[in-house]
């Protein structure tokens, strides 16, 4: 790749973009890309998963032109607020703390339980042991409040690896994320306990973006009403899919 050429093209692109006015209404959908089956990068290098399919349908119904971008979970709210993208669509549960900083649309996944998962056959002390969770999740808050020792990781993948290599006694995460991992572990991992924490999952948007919120809410409601949302949930969440 010729970087000088690319850099030159970029400078020209910015210059052209600077003189032309914004054409069409384009919405940048921000997701994590590391949380199957909610969202992940497929082998073609593109965002895939339940949220991709649902998000594309939302954009069709709301007549928006959407592009997908990925961002670390850790900085996903700051980058929304500073305008790097326009929505967070990343399996984010609605909480009152997050609601103070950003706004949420109507929920598109109903509240579903979180699982504690550990190596099969081990005795786990869920209130005194070492429990892994992803940074800045409702599960991390739950562990911190439960009295157990919390170890945090930047990606969900690393929380599972921590249980496998013995760094943590168990992991706490969304059941819909853990269920396929447990099912495919050939009996190595097992669900220890289910807990109900947090509300449903919704798109996060800037508090100043009321127009976008109204459009997306209408699209979500219409997908709930005609059953397409339930069909997609059943397709992607194979074990006990959450339903409206």
């Amino acid at each position: 790749m010729n970087f000088l050429k690319l850099a030159g093209a970029a400078i020209m692109g910015v210059a052209i973009a600077g003189t032309a006015m914004a054409a069409g209404h384009s919405v940048r959908m921000g997701t994590e890309g590391a949380y199957p089956p909610y969202n992940f990068i497929n082998d073609a290098g593109e965002v895939d998963g339940f949220e991709r399919e649902m998000g594309d349908e939302l954009c069709v119904r709301a007549q928006l032109e959407c592009t997908w971008v990925t961002n670390d979970w850790d900085s996903i709210i700051p980058n929304l607020v500073s305008g790097n993208y326009d929505t967070i669509i990343a399996g984010m549960s609605v909480t009152s703390e997050r609601d103070e900083v950003i706004d949420f649309t109507n929920e598109y996944i109903p509240a579903s339980p979180s699982y504690y998962v550990a190596l099969a056959g081990e005795e786990i002390d869920l209130t005194g042991g070492v429990i892994a969770a992803q940074t800045a999740t409702i599960q991390a808050n739950h562990i911190a409040a439960s009295g157990a020792t919390l170890v945090e990781f930047a990606t969900p993948d690393e929380t599972i690896a921590a249980v496998r290599n013995g760094e943590a006694d168990a992991v706490l995460a969304d059941g819909d994320y853990l269920a396929p991992i447990v099912a495919e572990s050939n009996g190595e991992l097992a669900i220890v306990e289910q807990v109900a924490i947090g509300g449903g999952v919704a798109l996060g948007i800037r508090e100043s973006d009321g127009e976008l919120k109204a459009k997306l809410n209408a699209a979500i409601d219409s997908m709930k009403a005609d059953g397409t949302l339930n069909a997609m949930l059943a397709k992607w969440f194979t074990e006990n899919p959450p339903q409206w």
Binding site: F3, V14, A34, V81
Partner: protein, 284 residues
């Protein structure tokens, strides 16, 4: 890639691996190696620019310029890199968007800071919302280059300043006695002789720069570390090529890549040093 890769889950052994290693996602991984090398090559000129500017500012006859030079090198070298890498691109980005908002959208009088939100009008966005993804990527890459140039330029300034001081005074005085102007002394005596003293320090800086490239990941540029982590992580049946946690292999590849880069660099610096030493009265 290959035509037998249509149904990956029915494949085994070498053909599975051949298909797996040629997915478009792996192509992104391979391209990211060139992103890293490209960043290294693109940042060197601005680093030297900042370095020379800082060094000459520190040596300036006019006191306020001297203060600016000292402030730059002292402050930037004192602040942890990671703070700088997070701060500079965000501050630059918001600064550019703020100025564009003020010039392009004069009719909007409200503040751009609405509570937690930083809101500029659509025409002031950098790059514009509907731009192609590669424009967004190049913009992020350019911000990263500037951040690297500011940070590493401060170190380079100190190295160059030291090297300029290390050139023996007799050499300069010899130039004066045969009637050379200050400009001639600078270009014909001072700068050519400076390199031999600057190269050891600059080669250190280059090695540190190579090893600092994974910080790109913090700036949202999808570099080798991002793809190694993304590809190496455990993959469930939701993916076309499910596999267990293979990160150790991917990071092993990165280890070899970085060792190779530093090894090639060492050879290059040895040659540069040999060249800068030619005809000079310094012991090798």
């Amino acid at each position: 890639m290959f035509d037998w890769c249509v149904d990956p889950k029915s494949l085994e052994g070498a053909s599975w691996l051949a298909c797996y290693l040629t997915t478009p996602k792996h192509a992104n991984f391979y391209i990211s190696f060139f992103t890293v090398i490209g960043l290294l090559l693109v940042t060197v000129p601005p680093i030297l620019l900042f370095g020379f500017a800082g060094a000459f500012a520190k040596r300036a006859a006019f006191a306020p310029i001297r203060w600016i030079g000292s402030l730059y090198t002292t402050m930037v070298r004192g602040v942890p890199d990671i703070v700088f890498f997070l701060f500079v691109p965000i501050a630059l980005d918001q600064g550019i968007e703020y100025l564009r908002h003020k010039t392009l959208c004069r009719e909007q009088t409200g503040s751009v800071w609405q509570g937690n939100d930083f809101v500029v009008c659509a025409a002031a966005k950098m790059p514009l919302g509907p731009s192609e993804q590669w424009v967004h990527d190049m913009y992020g890459f350019a911000l990263a280059v500037i951040a690297y140039a500011i940070v590493f330029g401060a170190f380079a300034a100190n190295i160059i300043d030291g090297a300029l001081k290390a050139v023996p005074k007799g050499q300069i005085e010899a130039g004066q006695t045969i009637g050379m102007s200050p400009r001639q002394i600078l270009w014909r005596i001072h700068l050519p002789q400076m390199w031999v003293y600057a190269l050891p320090g600059l080669s250190n800086l280059w090695m540190i720069l190579i090893k600092a490239t994974p910080l790109l990941f913090l700036l949202g540029v999808e570099d080798v570390v991002y793809w190694a982590r993304e590809l190496g992580g455990m993959k469930t049946q939701a993916f076309a090529y499910p596999h267990p946690d293979w990160r150790v292999w991917y990071f092993g590849v990165l280890l070899i890549f970085y060792l190779f880069l530093t090894w090639v660099s060492q050879i290059g610096f040895d040659r540069l040093t040999a060249r800068a030493t030619r005809g000079m009265a310094v012991a090798r």
